[in-house]
Structure formats: C-alpha cells, structure tokens
C-alpha cells in the first residue's frame, strides 16, 4: 500500500501537484480536489505532470469538476472520477492521507 495525496491548488498557480507527484512513492494515489481538478484537464500546459507520471494513480472529485465546468470528455485518459463516497474509500484503503495545499 501507499499514501493518498490530496491536491487542492491549481497547477498553473502553485507547484503542489508537481511536487506531490515528485515526492510520492510508487503506487501512490493522487486525488485532485477544489482548484486542484484543473490539473486533470487534457490539452493544457500542465498536462504532462500527470501523463508523464508513471506508477501513480490519479483521481478527481466529481462535484469540484462539475462546479468548474470540466466535462468527463475533457479529462486526461486514466484519471478516475470519484464522488464523496469514493473519496472516503480512498482514505480508508490507503496507508494514510497527506493533504497538499
């Protein structure tokens, strides 16, 4: 097992996503929430942070995607959408949770 990293800042404004990816171990789960969900969009200047990260699993919170008008067809391939229940499951199924702000 590995840790769950939550990232709540836009990757265009802060390096939270970039460094959460960098410092996380193989098999880590990275959940994008709040403004962090902008990192899940494809075709952006920040796309390679996720597409270039091998061995990590990415998730994005559904309600925050919806609030920001990011439709499922705009997501980077491999990013899994989770709802609040899925968020809880991730917290329970990983070793511990690290909140990257």
């Amino acid at each position: 097992m590995a840790d769950l990293f939550t990232v709540n800042k836009s990757p265009f404004e802060k390096n939270s996503l970039e460094n959460a990816i960098k410092f996380s171990t193989e098999g880590a789960s990275i959940l994008l929430i709040e403004d962090g969900v902008y990192g899940a969009s494809k075709g952006t200047a920040c796309e390679s942070m996720i597409t270039g990260a091998a061995g990590k699993k990415f998730y994005a919170l559904k309600s925050d995607l919806k609030a920001r008008g990011i439709a499922d067809d705009r997501l980077i391939d491999g990013v899994e959408v989770v709802d609040y229940a899925g968020f809880v499951e991730l917290v329970c199924s990983t070793d511990k949770t690290q909140a990257w702000l």
């Binding site: 265009f12 709040e34 969009s41 796309e47 008008g69 705009r74």
Partner: protein
Amino acid sequence: MSDIKKFMYLNRRAPYGTIYAWESLEVVLIGAAFDQEVSLMFADDGVYQLVKGCDTSESDMKNFMPTYRTLGDYGVRYMYVDQASLEARGLTADDLIEVAWEDWETEEEVDNIVEVVDSAKVTELMAESDVVFSF
C-alpha cells in the same frame, strides 16, 4: 461633473477555490453606481471564471455564472480575455460564456462583449486604464 475615468478590473484567480473572483464581482457591481468606463480583464487562472457549463449543485457553493451574464447591465462595456492564458489551459473562445450589452439611451446593442485579445493588446489596455483593480 463629468470626469469619466477608465476602470479596469484585473481577474487572475480561478472562480471557486478562493474568494477573489466573487469579491471582484461584488466590487464591479458596486462600482456600477459611479458611471465610469468599466472593463474587465481575465488572465491566468482568471479565464476559468468565464468557462460555461458550471454546475455547483453538488458543491454547496453559489454558482455566480448568471451574475457574469448580467454585467452588461451594470455598466461593464468590455470583457477581455488573454489568449495565451486560454491556450495554456486548452480552452478557446467557444468554451466561454457570452455577455450581451445595451446602451439604454442610444439603444446601441452588442451581442457579446467578451473578446479574446493577444498579450500586446493586454499590455496596451492596462497601460491606457486610469485605474487597475487587481483580484
């Protein structure tokens, strides 16, 4: 006294994660009472404020997109969007809301005052503004 100044509201933050976008809107709406020439500039993550299709029903937050659509009625004549910021986020003008404007006295109408401009134009517009409020 007729002393009209050019006011620019510069918006550089995403809409929901922080209070900046909402605060900017509040100031724009209040400022409407002062009869100045008002423009809004959206750059960096601020371009996300105009993305259409936002649905905050599951987030327990106010969807203030409808408020942007009424800005034309509050004295806002120009809404500019930095093209490079849009492109960096994989967005185009088609992803943005449209805002109509009408002059009640002359009945001049504009269907959409949202305009995508290049960086040189952004620089020019900022330079020629009398006041720039940054959010």
